[in-house]
Amino acid sequence: MISNCSYIGKGLAFTLELTFGGVAIGLILGCLLSVLRHCRICIALINGWVSVIRGTPLILQMSIIYFSFPSLMGVKLSMLSAGIISFGLNSSAYVAEILRSGIESLPKGQFEAAQTLGIPNFFLWKDIILPQVILNILPAMINEVIALLKDTTLISVIGGMDIMRRSQIIAAEQFEYFMPLCTAAAYYYCLVLLIEFVGRKIERRMGYAKNS
């Protein structure tokens, strides 16, 4: 029992690497996408990207990257990098959407007020708009991180040894499904609780201005 637990727990690092790698790429790329959305030439391209990513299954995107890239481009990706890239690319589309709705939900008057006070564009975004947007989208972002964490279980499909896959291996070896799978569930649940806890902490620290 204890050895099963620790065998499954060895997947923890892999799962966390996938999650945080994916979140990092998703955040950076998502921000980039939502900035580029303001440039006329890129709009169609980015909207297309977001639409395709959201319109196809993640497991399929991952399979394309892991199985077909070697023959297409002659590069063999490790399981970890293939996972991080697919989760990151996938997440970027959702992050870009979250940012877009966060910016759109700010009253137009905030931009106008800054304009009447002669605040230049760079400072308008840095000091007036983005701090408010970040506060607004924090709950949605935390949801996105949690969703990504749970989506990393898909890596077991291409053979990645994460928590999920390890619990399945034990189950198959010992012909006993309930305990190994529940152990995996407990690991994921604790991770989600941890993310929620950190998220609430950040929210509370920033949550001075809930109702303007």
């Binding site: 008057g109 304009q115 605040i119 001075y208 201005a209 303007s212």
Partner: protein, 222 residues
């Protein structure tokens, strides 16, 4: 001082401002009255260049300040930071920032909200937000102050406060254009009242020349 010349503006097919001509003298307090949708806000926004005229021009040789009906304070900044952010922007000189801070504090004290200086706008009442918004635009030393519905949502007593506040600002030589539904308020505060209807000026009067200016203006609403 402030010259609005043949100003016209349409949104789609509706003509919101129709050949409006107004000259506002230095230090004059001009009231803008008119039914809902008559173009008061649009006129103010055109003066502030938040909106572009289709034709005509606005000439103003002084800096303008704008007070929004819904204040538009920055909710993530304290009251003091709201006042200081724009005037201190890009100022390397600490003396200048110190002076601004002194001025801001004095202004908040004058407006009776000194105790709220470190609070966030979310915890202020409507009247208090109003004062902060007023102080924030005054920090930029505008020669012309444009106010959109400064008394909407305020009770009678607070409205009277706003009257005396704006009057005292007017006495420092600031020119004002104030749009409002509240005819009583407008006649108390304005040197002159212009009444808009469907984007046209239909009355241009001085309150002190009428025995009952509110009734006089009301006729145009029918």
């Amino acid at each position: 001082m402030l010259k609005i010349h043949n100003a016209s503006k349409s949104f789609g097919s509706t003509r919101v401002l129709d050949d409006v001509n107004i000259n506002v003298a230095k230090s004059e307090i001009l009231g803008l009255a008119g039914p809902s949708g008559s173009g008061k806000s649009t006129l103010l926004r055109c003066i502030q260049k938040l909106e572009h005229l289709d034709s005509g021009s606005v000439e103003c040789n002084e800096k303008t300040g704008f007070m929004f009906q819904d204040f538009q304070l920055f909710p993530h900044m304290t009251v003091l930071a709201n006042l200081l952010y724009a005037p201190n922007l890009g100022k390397k000189n600490t003396n200048c920032c110190k002076n601004n801070e002194k001025r801001a504090k004095a202004m908040l004290k004058n407006l009776g909200i000194a105790s709220k200086i470190h609070e966030y706008p979310g915890s202020l009442s409507g009247g208090q937000k109003q004062r902060v918004a007023l102080a924030r635009s005054l920090m930029m030393n505008p020669g012309v102050l444009l106010c959109d519905e400064p008394t909407s949502g305020l009770d009678v007593a607070t409205t009277m406060d706003v009257v005396s506040l704006l009057k005292s600002i007017g006495e420092t030589g600031v020119t004002m254009v104030i749009a409002s539904h509240d005819l009583d308020f407008l006649t108390k505060i304005s040197d002159r009242i212009i009444l808009l209807r469907e984007g046209k000026i239909v009355a241009d009067m001085k309150a002190k020349n009428h025995k009952n200016p509110v009734d006089y203006l009301k006729k145009y609403y029918a």
